[in-house]
């Protein structure tokens, strides 16, 4: 039988456990109480650990994880500060967190006081027959205990007896970390960058558009404090993607709102995003730093070091600017009023398609975009201009957004299947674009910012030259993959799936 994970809505007292033992005279419970220490509960902004049923405690000099799925505690000593899973030195906790995105920082969920107790159930000869590890955690005015009872081979009865005894002391089975948060009165924002959209197939398009926009504005705004706090680069990334989706809804739903209003709103959202463009570009560069250092030949390394020192410094300046914008009254007012605008679609004057039923419009838009993707992809061969590949990328992105927005209106498994195959092509096109953007970025430094490298111009120029050559060849490589990936995406199966999902029955 697997381990038993329990929770007691108060502090677990050994004395109480031993009192419950009265009926079983051969047993004693003995424990070793640890010190009561200060600690923190840690998780990423998107609660990745809570979702995986893990609870991470940071203590002075060590980490403790309660793995609710496996029913065990995992511990590791660490020295010094860490923020990302990739910062952790090798060890059992590092192993457990290894596949948490290295881009997401671990942040303090709550400050707590923790006491760890290890206890055993002994028989009349002093033999251990079952064990438990208990954590008593205090937060604000609440105090709870939780832990794991483990069985030992050949002593199943004793294990069950210990569970009974724990039960008499108030222990109940625990399978979810949220219960611990609830009992400790820890409030946790349930962040996701993929909000669940509740859409109605027959609702008018203007209402559905407003609903989608509101949902993504909420996601964007949830990231503001993380951008300002500069905890990790994902906050800005999610912030931008969400606003981009908002703007996409406006352009994809052309004709749903009044033309002039749509144009105004689009430019307003574009302006909001533009303020963060350079910071994101710098983030992407700095993230790839280690990679770049392996890409260029040895003589260019000194120049590359200069370049990255410059970029890191630029990022600092750029972050300051972005913070200032996000903390400004003007921004607050602007976003607030945009938010209010979409709360109720009656606030907006409609265009000719505003009253169309949502699903009808959605199907039309998806099919139209799909045929556009196919048309562009069909023209791509070795000699096609890069601009056309970019056009394909943008078209694919729009198709993806459309399908994601409207997933709830269709057979979700089918839509997800299409998105999955589309993603391979999109990743390919995304890399193609990244390499291109990065070359442009480097060229701009050479053209406009060389003055910041007085005396080191030669070194820098050489490094940028080497890097650009590498990026160019990588971009070429991605380019050769596009046709192959499109053929893979546009299989007979996908085509049928598109038809089945988005074409009205009886329509050829």
């Amino acid at each position: 039988m697997g381990p038993f994970v329990y929770i007691v809505p108060s502090a677990l007292k050994t004395k109480k456990l031993n009192t419950s033992l009265a009926g079983i005279p051969d047993y004693t419970i003995r424990d070793e109480k640890g010190e009561r220490v200060e600690g923190v509960i840690l998780d990423t902004f998107d609660n990745i650990l809570l979702k995986r049923r893990l609870l991470l405690f940071g203590l002075e000099g060590g980490l403790v994880v309660l793995d609710l799925k496996e029913g065990c505690f995992v511990e590791q000593e660490i020295e010094g500060a860490w923020r990302f899973s990739s910062d952790l030195p090798a060890g059992p906790v590092a192993e457990l967190l290894a596949d948490v995105s290295p881009l997401r920082a671990f942040l303090t969920v709550a400050k707590v006081k923790i006491r760890q107790t290890k206890g055993v159930l002994l028989d009349d000869e002093g033999k251990t027959r079952a064990r438990y590890t208990n954590l008593t955690v205090n937060h604000a005015d609440s105090s709870i205990s939780f832990g794991v009872v483990t069985s030992m081979r050949g002593y199943q009865r004793a294990f069950e007896d210990l569970i009974d005894i724990m039960g008499q002391a108030g222990a109940i089975a625990l399978d979810n970390g949220s219960e611990i948060y609830r009992l400790l009165a820890i409030k946790r924002y349930n962040y996701t960058n993929k909000p669940e959209l509740h859409l109605d197939a027959d609702a008018v398009a203007s209402e559905t558009a407003a609903r989608i926009i509101s949902a993504f504005m909420l996601v964007a705004r949830a990231n503001e404090s993380g951008v300002i706090g500069d905890y990790d680069t994902e906050f800005l990334h999610d912030y931008r993607v969400s606003f981009r989706k908002v703007r996409s809804v406006l352009s994809l739903f052309k004709g749903v709102y009044d033309g002039e209003i749509t144009r105004q709103l689009k430019s307003e959202f574009s302006a909001i995003m533009q303020g963060t463009n350079r910071l994101r570009d710098l983030d992407v560069y700095l993230m790839e730093k280690d990679h770049y250092f392996t890409m260029v030949p040895e003589p260019s390394l000194a120049g590359l070091t200069l370049l990255f020192a410059y970029l890191a410094n630029e990022r600092k300046k750029e972050l300051k600017k972005v913070k200032k914008i996000l903390q400004s009254k003007a921004y607050e007012r602007q976003v607030d009023s945009l938010n209010k605008l979409f709360m109720d679609s009656a606030n907006l004057s409609l265009g000719p398609k505003g009253k169309l039923p949502s699903k009808l419009l959605a199907s039309k838009l998806v099919l139209k975009r799909y045929s556009q993707v196919c048309r562009i992809a069909g023209t791509i061969n070795r000699s096609t201009r890069d601009e056309v590949v970019h056009e394909l990328r943008i078209s694919c992105k729009k198709l993806r957004y459309l399908m994601e927005f409207f997933t709830p209106l269709y057979d979700q498994d089918g839509v997800r299947q299409i998105i999955k195959t589309l993603k391979v092509l999109q990743d390919n096109l995304g890399r193609f674009n990244d390499y291109s953007v990065q070359q442009t970025f480097l060229r701009q430094i050479l053209d406009h910012e060389l003055g910041s490298f007085k005396g080191d111009e030669m070194q820098l120029t050489e490094a940028i030259g080497a890097l650009t050559a590498m990026l160019y060849s990588m971009q070429k490589k991605e380019r050769t993959q596009v046709v192959k990936n499109f053929i893979h995406f546009n299989s007979e199966e996908t085509r049928l799936l598109f038809k089945e999902l988005f074409q009205k029955k009886g329509e050829a």
Binding site: E125, K127, G154
Partner: protein, 249 residues
């Protein structure tokens, strides 16, 4: 899975202490270890505070895989489990003699749990019998405690002769000096003589120690309570020697 027997055809040479402490050393080195007590007196179990098995009686040890598996008990230490003995184990020879393939029965029984363990250590009763022949056939190595005295030399000679006569591989035998008192001239001399004669003798030896005697009081492997500088590391070192000889990775 490797099977290491701890055997001596002479009693009182520190056989059970060796089994218990080597099993502990094996477990501490990270090997999943099962100590199987074949001695009806059940002393191994006593040292681990594990009560005699009640259900593993008579022929069940060799015939009933389920009961054999059920009889396994976790010790208080990581990686270390034990099959406790009981008094019916004294009749093993009678059961074995009535069974077909009476010399490979033990191997069959241990095979059932082999996948759970890297090392199985057998604590054997001190006689030459059908059971011990099962042990000689099954074990990858047979560790033999020898007190460096004239009498012990004789019993070791007898054991080698028995292996010779019955076609068991002599290279399986790994004798080592037990309860050594270097202050005794006889011990020193016997050790010299034996080392010349038996090249397979383990380099490490176990000195006579009151700390080992106190295992009965502590009811725990000596390493868990003894001073590291005296007895604490003796068995860990010896276990390393055995691992090397037996090819335990």
């Amino acid at each position: 899975m490797k099977i290491i027997a701890c055997y001596s055809n002479k009693g009182g040479v520190g056989k059970t202490a060796t089994s218990v402490n080597l099993a502990y050393a094996s477990a501490m080195s990270g090997k999943r270890t099962l100590l199987c007590d074949l001695d009806p007196q059940g002393a191994s179990g006593f040292y681990f505070r594990i009560k005699p098995s009640r259900k593993l009686k008579d022929r069940a040890f060799f015939k009933d895989v389920e009961r054999f598996v059920d009889a396994i008990r976790a010790s208080d230490y990581d990686n270390l489990d034990l099959v406790p003995a009981n008094l019916t184990f004294k009749d093993f020879d009678i059961f074995l003699s009535r069974m077909k393939n009476s010399r490979s029965r033990l191997k069959k029984a241990l095979k059932a749990v082999g996948g759970d363990y890297d090392v199985i250590i057998l604590d054997c009763p001190p006689n030459i019998s059908l059971l011990s022949e099962n042990v000689f056939k099954t074990a990858d190595r047979v560790v033999v405690p020898v007190i460096p005295t004239t009498l012990s030399l004789r019993t070791l000679d007898q054991l080698y002769a028995f292996f010779d006569e019955n076609g068991y591989q002599k290279k399986k035998l790994l004798p080592f000096f037990s309860m050594v008192q270097l202050s005794k001239k006889l011990h020193k001399e016997s050790m010299l003589t034996l080392r010349k004669k038996y090249k397979n003798l383990l380099k490490s030896y176990v000195p006579f120690s009151t700390e080992i005697e106190r295992m009965g009081v502590h009811r725990a492997p000596v390493t868990t309570y003894a001073n590291k500088n005296s007895m604490g590391n003796v068995y860990a070192k010896m276990w390393k020697d055995i691992e090397a000889k037996a090819g335990i990775l």
